[in-house]
Symmetry: C2
Subunit: 155 residues, 2 copies
């Protein structure tokens, strides 16, 4: 193969790789960060269908001291349950994103608020890792949503 | 471009994609499961250097109620600390693996044992998600190691 033909083929290879979403890009990481921010906004509205739309069909939620919640239907029921908790509010902020091919993950900080036993809002901080798959339409869907208590903050 | 040239180029594209580890394979997922099992065995021996060898230089450990431990040196110090805990033993078993390109994740079940206040071993169960990057030499290195308490088991 001549050098020119090799370069053409290598360029085509690179193009095909991009088409299948197999190349890691900073743009994908930024898109994942933005998806997380939009998801947090959807969660703040309490719109279960909107929140659910960010999950992959086979997603699993793993939370502290709870059995894993597997699949979109189980997650729907879980979200319906949280929406009935007095004063329930959840919001989060992505801190970093890494992407390779059609998989990526985020490290996030999450804040959960509920009405406490004395009627005042009680807020707890969590640290989260979420894993994502890029679907063929270019959207990122959450496949693993895992959280655990953050370290106690200094008083 | 003739059809033959296109097929040759597409074949080369596929070959190049495989070379860069950009193709998701069941083999990679199984290799990741096996890496996790070997890592657990290394942890059982208490050999800090062996355990540390599974971490990527930029790895982060996220544990319940603790600040994240970032980077191999900080993780080394963390592991040295756990090795001094009386009766400390950690072991885990991977339950499922997914891979895309040079990124993958595992869902694992972890068992931590320490000597309790009354001198008898106390065991706690955790659920873990670990994220991995495939290095150029084909080895998988851990980039995120996150755990949280499992659900209490029925008495």
């Amino acid at each position: 193969m001549t050098r020119v033909k090799f370069l053409v083929a290598a360029g085509l290879a690179s193009f095909l790789c991009n088409c299948s979403g197999a190349t890691s890009t900073q743009g994908d990481a930024e898109k994942l960060m933005q998806t997380s921010r939009e998801w947090s906004k959807a969660a703040a509205t309490g719109d279960t269908d909107a929140v659910l739309g960010y999950f992959d069909d086979g997603a699993v939620m793993i939370s502290e001291g709870q059995p894993p919640v597997r699949g979109k239907q189980a997650i729907r029921e879980y979200l319906a349950g949280t929406s009935k908790i007095p004063g329930f509010k959840i919001e989060w902020e992505p801190r970093e994103a890494k992407v390779s091919g059609d998989m990526g993950y985020l490290i996030e900080q999450t804040r959960l608020t509920m009405t406490g036993p004395e009627g005042a809002p009680v807020t707890r901080e969590f640290q989260a890792v979420t894993v994502w798959r890029k679907h063929k339409d270019g959207t990122w869907k959450n496949v693993v949503d895992m959280s655990t208590s953050a370290a106690p903050t200094a008083p």
